[in-house]
Amino acid sequence: MSTIVMLPDQQTASLPKRSYLNEEYGLKSWLLTGDHKRIAILYLISITIFFFIGGFFAGMIRLELLTPPSDLMAADTYNKMFTMHGIIMVFLFLVPSVPATIGNFLIPIMVGAKDLAFPKVNLLSWYLYVVGGILVLAALTLGGVDTGWTFTTPLSTHYLNTHVITAGLAIFVAGFSSIFTGLNFIVTIHRMRAPGMTWFRLPLFVWSHYAASVLMVLGTPVLAITLVLVILERVIGIGVFDPAKGGDPLLFQHLFWFYSHPAVYIMILPGFGVISEVISTFSRKRVFGYTAVAFSSVAIAVFGFFVWAHHMFIMGVSNYSALVFSLLTMLVAVPSAIKIFNWSFTLYKGSITFETPMLYAFGFMGLFTIGGLTGVFLGSMGMDIHLTETYFIVAHFHFVMVGGMLMAFLAGVHFWWPKMTGRMYPEGISKLAALITFVGFNLTFFPQFILGYLGMPRRYAAYPPEFQALNVLSTAGATVLGVGYVLPLLYLAWSLKYGKIAGSNPWQATGLEWQIQSPPLTENFVETPVIDYEAYDYEWLANKTKHEVQTVG
């Protein structure tokens, strides 16, 4: 039961004559495409733009917090900055990041289909995303929004004069984009699998996307209706959440978090999928406990719907209800722990190499472990009282979302970049970027845990001077982190023209996507593949390679 896999000779690899990239030319062929790979590229470009817009706001926030008083910008400007940062990063970057780009590109290929089930719906979902993005930019240029991304009523409905309606509509529209993506994935995974591709032969990437898609389809509409009610409350003054008319503002938070907590899993689950693929590939070993990892994704999706009120422990929910939600929160932490240990043990007796995606994956494991464990602090009700609404919670969700998800996204982009573009990026500088990101990240967000326990509230433009030292550290870290994020943009763009030709399977990975040419054909497969091997079957790959060598030789 042991396998040796040799890296192919990249010198001899050449770009295929025909691929999805050169099938058609011109802007129209991209904007009206039904090809999931092209839509994935469209998504990749648009979310990158929004990531850097959101990142700009993050930079401004950190710069303002360099000094205790609000001297760089006025308090209301600062409020708009963090609101835009939150809205853009959550709804326009994190939610679509891995699913709409990497997932969109790979899921049909991984299940052995020619395309997603509904190519037009897929394109529509990109357009909805763009409309949502434009609405966000409109809200921004018209004067900004300062509700915070949580839109807490009655602040958002009656006490602010900023462009809440535009921003609400933006999220509503972007929400439907994510609903359609999720719907497409579920249908594709159920209905479009190639002959022989049974559920337990699916890569874990597909499993985790399936779980995330279920959350998108079932959770997002609740956010949509909640935002509709908020908009109606602002426009015509209905009274569902308005305490002055008899409504309960806490109901808004129930409905909002009913989506927005599962949204956390929508963001992180696809990242889990990426990590499973990357760890398995670079340790040349089947993921330890495939079934456990697959079912833990499903368990997270199911339990994810039962825990939302842990965002509201101090908000005046009933004590007993808080008790139930806290208990369930502890349960949902377990599947994540299972995943971390299973990934760790995947390394056991592997044959490990440390390519860039693997470095990002290691970064993910470390940071996500911290993020997850600090989540237990917050799920523990008594501790939550002191920690919630402080920088502790900011640090916690940045460890999960940025340390976890963004690392996973970068791992995925680096892992599948040769498949998407057919070219390799420079190895040395990309490893350096991974390292810079990791160091910068820790420098930025670790001090925030300490700040949080000290009691520094989040969303403060000004703060007491004794918090300055830690804030300066954090801002310094943000600078490093910024470098870490700009670097990949540069060398990946560079590699598009000057990168080495990657060949179809540069990592010697087992996934179906690696058995076809890179970049793939528009129809993905020349003929419908018939799957007769398990996921992560390195022996099968070794046999296949041997066979090819023999036939070619």
């Binding site: 349960l331 464990l373 523990s380 919630t388 004794e466």
Partner: protein
């Protein structure tokens, strides 16, 4: 040292090093409990982190390609997987139970706590002491005495946070919330609004001053406004005409309020309710939802007519109301002063006139 670097930077460095905080002061009786849980959680995290780190680095070194060119395929291990399901689960359950105990400790005030009212509004904190001391963005509390805060917001959600005490509670529009603490260290501590509440959210801050009992005594006497909350409430009670119905007389149209606080009353709906601050406030604003059994739902709503401070005055007044003697005195006086006006206000006033003199001698023990 500072000869070698720029004086500006030197100043910054000195400033940071002298004002450097890593751990908040433990200034309440709850703080040690919270910190104990915190350190336990940190311990778990460190162990978990160390474990993952050891596994990842250990395996990375042992099974790197140069050392182990052939991977051995392993399907999984149910035993191992069960281990890392059950042990974290058990640890998380400990965190849950411990956290729940702490939560109930923080949110269930002791019965002997002294009460201070807090009104939050964009963007200031008003503290109203029962003795009539009013503070803005400040709170003075005595050392070693349990203090309960009864809080309400006039506009949006706020959150009253005193990190040194490890307590925090959302301040909600339209509903009282409470939190309590016993300060254990004299000093001045930060008070923050931690729920984002609009433009000047970061300026909705203040100071909590913990004073030795004798200093607190002095402060109380020195800063009183001359009228206690209950006295203000009594005035309001009379000027809003509450006393017309809640006179405590046998035939009064409203229930007797004297000594009603902290009792259980039966409502028209048949259910029972505890008369607490929230119940009193709600009864004034939404009387028909809190009609006491045996009384007609005739009380008008005072929604929009009384400020939150006024409501607090009334609540405090009713809370302290032991006897209806003064209520009836006030009624009699007002009738003597302006009988015509009262006549005009029939039927309420005339009814009161008939009953009031007869009952004026009745003093509730």
């Amino acid at each position: 040292m500072h000869y070698f670097i720029s004086p500006v930077l030197w100043q910054f460095l000195v400033n940071w090093l002298t004002h450097f905080a890593l751990f908040p002061p433990e200034a309440s009786s709850i703080a040690p409990y919270a910190d104990a849980l915190y350190f336990f959680l940190i311990l778990i995290s460190l162990v978990g982190m160390a474990l993952v780190l050891a596994l990842v680095t250990g395996f990375s070194i042992l099974y790197r390609k140069e050392r182990n060119p052939e991977a051995t395929q392993i399907e999984g291990s149910t035993l191992l997987e069960a281990t890392w399901t059950i042990i974290p689960l058990a640890l998380f359950m400990v965190c849950f139970v411990w956290g729940a105990l702490l939560y109930f400790r923080i949110y269930n005030p002791p019965t002997n706590a002294m009460n201070i009212y807090i009104v939050g509004k964009q963007w200031m904190w008003k503290a109203e002491h029962p003795g009539g001391q009013h503070e803005i963005n400040a709170l003075h509390v005595p050392l070693g005495k349990p203090v309960q805060l009864t809080m309400i917001s006039q506009d949006v959600f706020h959150s009253y946070s005193i990190p040194a005490f490890r307590v925090k509670r959302e301040v909600i529009p339209g509903r009282y919330t409470t939190v309590w603490f016993t300060a254990t260290q004299p000093g001045t501590y930060h008070l923050f609004c931690t729920q984002y509440c609009g433009t000047l959210h970061s300026e909705m801050i203040g100071e909590v001053t913990v004073m030795k009992p004798e200093d607190y005594q002095a402060w109380t006497e020195g800063s009183t406004s001359g009228m206690s909350l209950a006295q203000n409430g009594e005035r309001l009670f009379a000027s809003l005409g509450c006393n017309a119905c809640h006179s405590g007389n046998a035939g009064a149209r409203g229930p007797n309020l004297a000594e009603s606080y902290a009792t259980r009353v039966q409502l028209t709906s048949g259910s029972y309710a505890m008369v607490d601050d929230a119940f009193l406030r709600d009864s004034i604003l939404n009387p028909t939802m809190h009609t006491t059994a045996g009384y007609a739902p005739i009380m008008p709503t005072y929604q929009g007519q009384i400020s939150e401070e006024g409501l607090i005055d009334l609540v405090e007044y009713i809370k302290k109301l032991n006897t209806n003697y003064r209520v009836q005195q006030t009624l009699n006086t007002s009738q003597v002063q302006s009988p015509v006006q009262n006549q005009a206000q029939s039927p309420v006033a005339s009814r009161v006139q008939q009953t009031a003199p007869a009952a004026s001698g009745m003093v509730k023990p």
